[in-house]
């Protein structure tokens, strides 16, 4: 008994540690986002947030669903492996985004201090609304030259011309059909 005679201050100290540990657990419960540590030392919900970015390139499958005639012609020509949007540019397909996870206390606290990032409004373009939004046809004088202007850095087998000598400023599509450009493949106009 005499051994623990003066141990009261130790128990008070231990009690304080237990109390502090409980406070730590409670604070941590509210401060650390729920998904933190699910896969590693990061917030797993961030993966879903990156995946929620809206797509702008619709993908050639979307184009081919309507433009099967062009797909057929292109499939037989030299440009078979050039996707539609490589020349026509992004024609926007907004993919269905998953619903954002409900913000927890920490995220609501952060939102009070740091203003939330602006969310892009959904854009409707040709792939979403083909009837009313018709994309402009590219200028073949500029477009074709991007790939086919002669350069020592390009692969030797790749068709290259010096545009000024080859066409003298004439638009490429005057002679070549961009969807099937070879002159001997029935692609001439």
């Amino acid at each position: 008994m005499s051994k623990f005679k003066d141990a009261g201050h130790l128990f008070r100290f231990a009690g304080l540690f237990v109390l502090l540990f409980v406070v730590f657990l409670v604070v941590r419960h509210f401060v650390v986002p729920k998904s933190f540590g699910k896969y590693g030392h990061y917030r797993a919900d961030a993966i879903g947030e990156v995946a929620a970015h809206p797509a702008k390139f619709a993908g050639h499958e979307t184009c081919e669903a309507c433009h099967s005639d062009v797909a057929d012609k292109k499939g037989k020509g030299k440009h078979a492996h050039v996707n539609c949007e490589a020349c026509h540019g992004a024609l926007v397909k907004v993919l269905p985004a998953p619903p954002p996870p409900t913000p927890n206390l920490y995220e609501r606290m952060v939102a009070l201090v740091i203003k939330p990032m602006p969310v892009d409004p959904p854009v409707l373009r040709h792939a979403e609304d083909p009837a009313s939004v018709v994309p402009e046809l590219p200028d073949t004088t500029v477009l074709c030259a991007r790939c086919h202007t002669a350069s020592a850095a390009k692969p030797k087998g790749f068709p290259q011309v010096v545009p000024a000598d080859h066409s003298n400023g004439l638009a490429c599509k005057t002679c070549h059909d961009p969807h099937s450009p070879a002159m001997d493949a029935g692609g001439t106009k």
Binding site: F24, V27, R28, V31, V32, K34, S35, F36, G37, K38, Y39, G40, H41, Y42, R43, A44, D45, A46, I47, G48, E49, V50, A51, A52, H53, P54, A55, K56, F57, G59, H60, H79, H81, V82, N83, E85, A86, C87, G89, A90, L95, P98, P99, P101, E107, V110, M117, D120, R146, C147, T149, A150, S151, A152, A153, K154, P155, F158
Partner: protein
């Protein structure tokens, strides 16, 4: 300090509530993404750079992918002249070419399996996802730029508006929906191909077996997953 306790984070894993999958038909554990870059096919048109900027709202003057043109002289093969005007977005000048070796090299995040950039983040804002893509948590990033310095390939930047780090996400929003990346979609010659190393049917397995494929800076042991076919020894 309360947030930054990895051991505690792991201990609490059991009580953490699950998050919904980002796409109903997509399972992260079934994929391990990378990119094949076929240098002999690159024509330096800049389509990938423009497509990436459009798809990912990349600010002007910053790049998540860019194209470099190498000029290697016979006399000094280890010191190539490298240009990348505006990231190659509008192509390359052709006027002053001599008869030496020229070629294009597209660059992008290598989505390293042992990435130096994710290791230096002090707040757990950048990480390798379970499907092998190096991503950034835009809500957690402080913009300290340690990761920008740590990347040996120069693939990260601080977004001047958001003041957070940004980089190639391998179009994570597209690949999880079954689409290819914007740069692959826009590449006219197939010089870039998205690869899934966990898909046994992916042609990458046959390609790696039959071609001389290298990664950039292999001596840094980053586990880079941007595979370069026909990579010249002068490329840095």
């Amino acid at each position: 300090m309360l947030i930054l306790m990895p051991a505690a984070a792991i201990a609490w894993k059991a009580v953490l509530a699950g998050t919904p999958e980002q796409s109903p038909n997509y399972t992260m554990s079934e994929h391990w993404w990378g990119m094949l870059i076929d240098i002999p096919k690159c024509i330096g048109c800049g389509n990938c750079v423009r497509a990436c900027a459009t798809e990912n709202d990349v600010p002007d003057g910053y790049f998540r992918t860019w194209v470099e043109r190498y000029h290697v002289s016979d006399e000094d093969m280890t010191n190539p002249e490298v240009i990348s005007p505006d990231g190659g977005k509008e192509g390359f000048p052709v006027a002053a070419e001599d008869d030496k070796k020229y070629f294009f090299v597209p660059k992008m995040c290598n989505h390293c399996a042992d990435s130096p950039c994710t290791q230096v983040c002090p707040v757990g804002a950048t990480f390798i996802s379970p499907d092998g893509v190096v991503l950034i948590d835009q809500k957690y990033c402080l913009g300290c730029a340690y990761c920008v310095q740590a990347c040996p390939y120069g693939c990260r930047y601080i977004n001047p508006q958001k003041e957070t780090a940004e980089k190639c996400t391998l179009c994570y929003h597209r690949i999880t929906q079954g689409l290819t990346t914007a740069c692959c979609e826009a590449c006219p010659t197939g010089a870039r191909q998205l690869v899934d190393l966990k898909d046994p049917k992916d042609p990458i397995h046959e390609f790696l077996k039959t071609h001389s494929v290298e990664v950039l800076k292999p001596q840094m042991a980053t586990g880079a997953k941007a595979f370069y076919n026909g990579l010249d020894g002068s490329v840095r």
